[in-house]
Structure formats: structure tokens, C-alpha cells
């Protein structure tokens, strides 16, 4: 069997080797261990020994050639005459190994995201959450556009910035149908009142100077509102829970604040529905605001110069009109003369 003489890999980072010279000639006899060629790699030159005995034939590289590692440069055969004529074939220019980009090799499974091709339209508009990129959500918000309309028109999700063109082409949204009115549904009601704030201001100032008690006026109102609600609804035995908030920030819920310490009303930790929500808007420029009434009537207190503006929003299912009027009247009276109602 003829033995292939190859360009050996001598260095670790070697892709090619330079054939410096042949130490044996075409057709010459060689024995195992005989130096047959000189190769240069990484600035060092070394002799390559024959790995088989026989005759060196089919020399395929000449001195000075850069030969890719592993390429056959000659053959050692049993007889010299198997190819008498010297044929020096040109060696193709060395090229870096193709290891990095194997053409046959499939894409690594884990690094590819497999998805079905995007469908043109989904037959039914999807319910619930709309799938959209963070950027398109931001742009839609800034431009007052509703991405849900794309879904309603059957444009498939997820949505990207490019879909804004389609969304804008849909034109302005149709006006929403007016909500149907139900004659039996509880109606939203509103009562407003005005009372001098000086009484409350004096009480707070007096407590601070005399007893060094620094009290939020809201605590006084909490006590009065609880008492007024109790009187108006006649709930003398039941616990009454009132929730207080400053502008839109909820303080907490307090039970029977009219019967506990003024500065430390009893805290209600459960998740019961309060009987009344007390909102303090005095720290804001808003003097009057209508509250959306959900579970409980809302008593809002705003301030306009020397006056407190009191408003009560409630539904007819929560309070009777008489109870509501009593509640506001009683509360305003207490607020006007707080000292008489605390001591």
C-alpha cells in the first residue's frame, strides 16, 4: 500500500506549513526515519521524517509552497517506477480551514427561535390582552391610538411599530354606543356644603401649643364623620368603618373612630367594605370634586380660603336622601364648632 506523505501540523495554531526544501528526490529510496523534507512553521524550521520505507514518488509540492496542513505532498510506494515522470502539480493557494462555517451543518437547534410563519389575519379577534412590543405600546400611548382596534379588525398579533400605519389607516374610532340606562339602577347623588374652617384651625393650633399634640385635622374629621354617619343612619350598636385618604393616597380604615382615642383611632385590618370614604383635598388646589362612587358613599373635603367645602357623593342604594342630608348637616355643624363636640 502506498503511504501518503502529508504536510504535518507542527504548531498549535498552524493552518499551513511552508515547504522549505525536499531532502529526497523524486524516485529516490527512503527508509523509515529518513528526513525527507524541511518544513517551516511559526518561524521554526524542522525536518520531517519518512513514516514508511519505499520510494518517494508523486511529489506534489515544490520548495517555497505554502501547503495546508493535512494535504498530501508526496507518496512513498513500494516501487520507484510506478510513476516515472516527475509531475509537480500546482498547489492551490492556502485557504483557512472551513471549520467555522460548515456548509452541511444544520443550524443549532437551541439558538434558533422556531415559529410558524406569520399568518395574514386571524379569523376571530383575540380576547383579552393585546400582544404588542414595548415600543409600539409607547408610541400608541403618546399618539392616543388604541392597539386593540387592530385586533378588532383582524390584524394578527403581535403588533410592532410597523402596524401603526395600519392602525392610523383605520380612521377615527366609532363613537361608543351610549350606555343603556336602567331605570331601576341606583342613581348617583351629590350634596355640597360650606362651613368656616376657623373652628378647626383654632382647635389644632390650641392642641399643638397647649398639649404639644400635633394632630392632623383629618383625624378630627374622621371622628366627626363617623359620629354623623352613626346618628344619620341610627346604627348605634354596629361597628362603623371609615376609610380616609389624602387626595388619592389611602391612609387606612378605622373602626368606630367616634368612640376611640382622637389621636389613635382603632385600625381596621380586615378587608371589609367601609361604610364611608373620607377624602381630604385641602392640601391640593382642588376645592370641589365629584367622586366616582363604588362600594361606599364618599365624603370629600376641600378648602377655599377660610372655608371648608364639603361634598357627599352617594348612590341611592347606599343612603336615603334624608340620611344623606342629615349626615352632611351634622358633619358640617361639628366641623364648625369642633371643641363642643370633642370634649
Amino acid at each position: 500500500m502506498p503511504h501518503d506523505v502529508i504536510m504535518p501540523a507542527l504548531g498549535m495554531a498552524q493552518d499551513t506549513g511552508k515547504l522549505v526544501s525536499w531532502l529526497k528526490q523524486q524516485g529516490e529510496a527512503v527508509a523509515i526515519g529518513d528526513p525527507i523534507m524541511e518544513v517551516e512553521t511559526d518561524k521554526t524550521t524542522m525536518e520531517v521524517e519518512a513514516q514508511a520505507s519505499g520510494f518517494l514518488i508523486r511529489i506534489a509540492a515544490k520548495a517555497g509552497d505554502d501547503v495546508p496542513v493535512g494535504q498530501v505532498v508526496a507518496v512513498i510506494a513500494k516501487t520507484a517506477d510506478s510513476e516515472a515522470v516527475t509531475k509537480v502539480e500546482p498547489v492551490p493557494a492556502a485557504s483557512p480551514p472551513a471549520d467555522r462555517e460548515p456548509i452541511e451543518i444544520k443550524t443549532p437547534a437551541d439558538t434558533l427561535v422556531k415559529t410558524p410563519a406569520r399568518q395574514v389575519a386571524t379569523p376571530t379577534p383575540p380576547k383579552g390582552r393585546v400582544l404588542a412590543s414595548p415600543k409600539v405600546r409607547r408610541l400608541a400611548l403618546e399618539q392616543g391610538l388604541d392597539l386593540a382596534r387592530l385586533a378588532e379588525h383582524g390584524v394578527s398579533q403581535p403588533y410592532h411599530v410597523a402596524d401603526l400605519v395600519t392602525l392610523k389607516a383605520l380612521g377615527p374610532a366609532e363613537a361608543l354606543p351610549a350606555p343603556k340606562t336602567d331605570p331601576t339602577a341606583p342613581a348617583a347623588m351629590h350634596i355640597a356644603a360650606r362651613v368656616l374652617a376657623s373652628g378647626c384651625d383654632e382647635l389644632v393650633a390650641w392642641m399643638a401649643s397647649d398639649g404639644e399634640v400635633h394632630l392632623a385635622p383629618r383625624l378630627i374629621w374622621l371622628r366627626f364623620a363617623t359620629a354623623a354617619l352613626r346618628e344619620a343612619t341610627g346604627r348605634h350598636e354596629d361597628p362603623i368603618v371609615v376609610e380616609t385618604s389624602k387626595i388619592r393616597e389611602v391612609d387606612g380604615r378605622f373602626v368606630d373612630a367616634d368612640r376611640s382615642s382622637l389621636s389613635r383611632p382603632g385600625i381596621e385590618n380586615g378587608d371589609c367594605v367601609p361604610a364611608l370614604v373620607l377624602r381630604d383635598f385641602t392640601a391640593s388646589p382642588i376645592v370641589s370634586i365629584t367622586a366616582p362612587v363604588a362600594d361606599a358613599p364618599v365624603l370629600t373635603i376641600g378648602r377655599e380660603r377660610d372655608d371648608y367645602l364639603i361634598s357627599l357623593d352617594y348612590r341611592t342604594c347606599q343612603l336615603e336622601e334624608g340620611q344623606a342630608i342629615d349626615l352632611v348637616t351634622d358633619f358640617a355643624a361639628r366641623l364648625g364648632e369642633p371643641l363642643g363636640h370633642i370634649v
Binding site: D42, P102, T107, D110, T111, V136
Partner: protein
Amino acid sequence: MREITLSQAVNEALAEEMRRDETVFIIGEDVADAGTPFKVLSGLVEEFGTTRVVDTPIAEPGFMGIAVGAAMTGTRPVVDLMFGDFIFLVMDQLCNQAAKTHYMSGGKLNVPLVLRTNLGATRRSAAQHSQSLHALVAHIPGLKVALPSSAYEAKGLMKTAIRDNNPVVIFEDKLMYQEKAPVPEEEFLIPFGQANVTREGTDITLIATSSMVQVAEKAAVILATEGISAEVIDPRTIVPLDEETLLNSVKKTSRAIVIDEGHQSYGVTSELASRLNEKAFYHLDAPVLRMGAMDVPVPFSPALEDLTVPIPEAVAANARRLVAGELIHAA
């Protein structure tokens, strides 16, 4: 401009810095007469002698520790770690000692050393000579991490690393040692923490490190033929990281893929993708994708090994899907 190999570029950087500063020395296994198995250091011992190109026994923790002590006392060692995989052997000296000394001493002691080693699979070297472990050290505060992506980068970053007053780990791509690139004859340095936008584009940002920069650039060429304009960014150093350049690019293109040869899980791709999500979320028109090496020990067989590393076609395929706005992960 003349072209030299990455190997020659590193050699030049070391020689220049050793001529400039006599406290710079090289220490490691087979660095002197052998010039390392990759022949990167060939010729240096002839110029600087064995006192400054120091052959050690095969004792990585030992010579790493010696380098730390030498750095603390007025020299600038360049530690040669033959394979990146051996970094596990020097972890205590690197991460418990070198990385923390400046901080633990309240700024009194410095450890100006360079650990030069390598990364990269597909050399058919199997699991203990093929890893890309830069994320491990990037995790440790106090270590800087540079990832040169060409001969030019390797020279400029090495010179900066040697002059830095902190421990710097440089991972060279061992497949790139014989690859040539234009490198000016005049002296130059590449500052740390300044990413390189190697290709500008408008539709998608491909952030790639080290060996993966070429992969990303090839992917960009494929994408260009389809009318997709990809921007390619090489962060150059992952610690410190030029976040600004990455964020600005992603804010422009709205899409990004991060490509790195370290294992994907808990790796560089994860870290960079997280930062983009945190800081450019409202500019993203598609999820940021990570493409790292597969989470398997690097296999020996070429048929398997080539599956583990991101390739240009895969990057292009993912970019195509992101640009087309496909549903990447159904809710």
C-alpha cells in the same frame, strides 16, 4: 496598511510595552524558548532574556499567585495561561486575591497584572481545551475583561491592559492567531470601555464579542442581500462595558441580538440582553435574543462540535424573524 496576524500583534504589543517599561515581565508555562504552543511569544526571550520571559513549572495557581504578589510590589506581570480552560485552576488567586486586594486595602494596594489566555471552540480539542469562560471572571468585581476580535484589537487592547493599574483578563480567540488584519506600524492603544461599531445599520443591532464579531458581520452581509440593514457592535471590553453605545444603537434600530461564544445560560448574552431590556425597554420593537454557545460541554466530534457555536446563518435567520415581527414567544 501592512497586515499582520493576531499572534504577531500580541507579540508586538508585549515587546513594545516591555521595551517601554522594564517592570513588565511575562510568566507562564513554556513562554520562553517554546514561545507558547501557539508560538505567540516567539522571539521575546531572545530580546528580553529569561529573567523577563519566565518559564514556570506546570503550576498555574503557583505562578498566578507569584504574579499577584509581584504586581502588588511594583511590577507589571503578564501571566500566560496556556488555555482559557485552566482558569479554574487559578480562581482563588485571581478572584479572591487579585480582584479584591485594591478594595480590601481601602485603595492602598494595586494589582496591575494581565492574565492573557484564550477562548473558542471548533479546534477539535474537546471539552477541557475549548471553553470560552470570560463570563466567569466578568462576574467578579475588580477584574477587567477584554475580548479582542482581530489582530488590530488584540494589539491595542493588550497595550492598554498592561498599562492599566488593575487585574485585566484578556481572552484571545485561539482560532484567530494566524488571521491577518491591517495593523498600523505606529504605536496605538485602544481604550477600555469604548465599543466599536464595526458596521452601521438601521433595522437591527447585532452585539457580538471576540470570535462572534466575524460571525455577526457575515450575518449582516447575508441580511443586506435581503434588504435588512444590520448594525454590528463589538463591545471590546465587557468590563468596563460601554453601555451607552449599545443602548443608543438599540434605541435607533429597536431590535437586538447578542452573540457570544460563552455558554448561553447565565452568560454574557444574558447580561447584555438584561441591560437592554432594563434601559431601552420602551424602544424595543421585538424581544432581545441571546445567542451563546450551547449549554453542553464542548464535544470532540466535528459533527457535534460545530452544532454548539452560533454561525452566521443562524444569526441571520433570527434577525430575519425579529425584523419581520414574528411572534417570538406566544403569551
